[in-house]
Amino acid sequence: MRLNQSLVTANAFEKHLVNRRRKKSGGAKSIGFVLMLTSMVDMFSMLVIFLLQTFSNSPEILVLKGMELPNSITPSVVREATVLAIAKDGNLYLDQKLVGKVMDVTKQPDVLLNKLNLIKKQWTASHKTDFSGEINLQADREVESTTVSIVMAILTSSQFQAIQLAVIGK
């Protein structure tokens, strides 16, 4: 208070000295700071609105690392099912586990067929309804379409007839 009074009453030079002393002494800024509550609440509200708009309750399927899925303008909602993935390097994965090279599997599909039959048996054991035949097929956009069609034919022969091609929705 005295300092303030002196500031009011002092001349310009004294004011300068007082200010300099104030800056030197302590030198420390006040520890407590004022939080701008209005802008913080604004920011939080905008974040919540944006996140609520982009909220999706559809199941997520794991996409292989490095895989570029094709874009689509008419995608449907993803349904949870076994995931078969054809990578760009020519490897075939079933539920993230390597089955082998696609070219080998298309020539001798027994390995894949056995694994698919096992999945089918497990599904039948855990469900009372008929086998739905649903499977998610992921393939890199650069993979040959003929390769994908052969894999699809193998799936069809193993009663996986509702094939869902994974795409990125625009």
């Binding site: 996140l51 909220f55 996409v63 899925l69 094709p70 008419t74 040959e144 069609s149 091609l165």
Partner: protein, 161 residues
């Protein structure tokens, strides 16, 4: 005393929002939504590969449509009824995008609505790929079919199986 002027007790017009609980709620919401946020919207295109008795019952007046890739920018469109070709269109373009635009226009004007009074119902559509055509291009063609409300789509192998 000022408030009691004989017109009944007035409530204070400005109220105080309890900011602490409001910020708590907002931050909890933000955390939950950030954790559960899906940043890549993955969707699916459903392909029905069933044939014979398991295939969906076809309507009497419905036609079948075959898209046969002849190359990355070359496509044959065959309209069939009871296995017999009714109309065949050969589409060829310099780029894939152009070909898809042509396909879209051909489906709208020549296949689905050949005249003002006539509308064609497509029961099933099949896509036959060709080596040299990548999967992304095939999905784009499927997209064009789905855009024209043709949803019962199957994919054949290159040999037509």
């Amino acid at each position: 005393m000022i408030g009691n002027t004989g017109r009944g007790s007035k409530r204070q017009l400005d109220f105080e929002l309890n900011l602490t609980s409001f910020i708590d709620l907002l931050s909890t919401c933000t955390c939950f939504l950030l954790i559960t946020a899906v940043w890549i919207q993955i969707g699916t295109l459903e392909i029905k590969q069933s044939h014979g008795t398991e295939a969906a019952a076809e309507a009497k007046d419905s036609f079948d449509l075959d898209l046969v890739f002849k190359g990355p920018t070359e496509l044959n469109v065959n309209l069939k009824k009871h296995g017999k070709a009714v109309k065949t269109l050969a589409l060829k373009s310099a780029t894939n995008e152009e070909m898809l635009t042509k396909l879209n226009e051909a489906l709208k004007t020549q296949i689905l609505n050949p005249s003002k009074d006539k509308k064609i119902l497509i029961g099933t559509a099949t896509v036959t790929p060709k080596s040299g055509v990548n999967y992304g291009q095939m999905v784009s063609a499927l997209d064009v079919l789905r855009k024209n409300k043709i949803v019962n789509i199957g994919v054949l192998t290159e040999r037509g199986q």
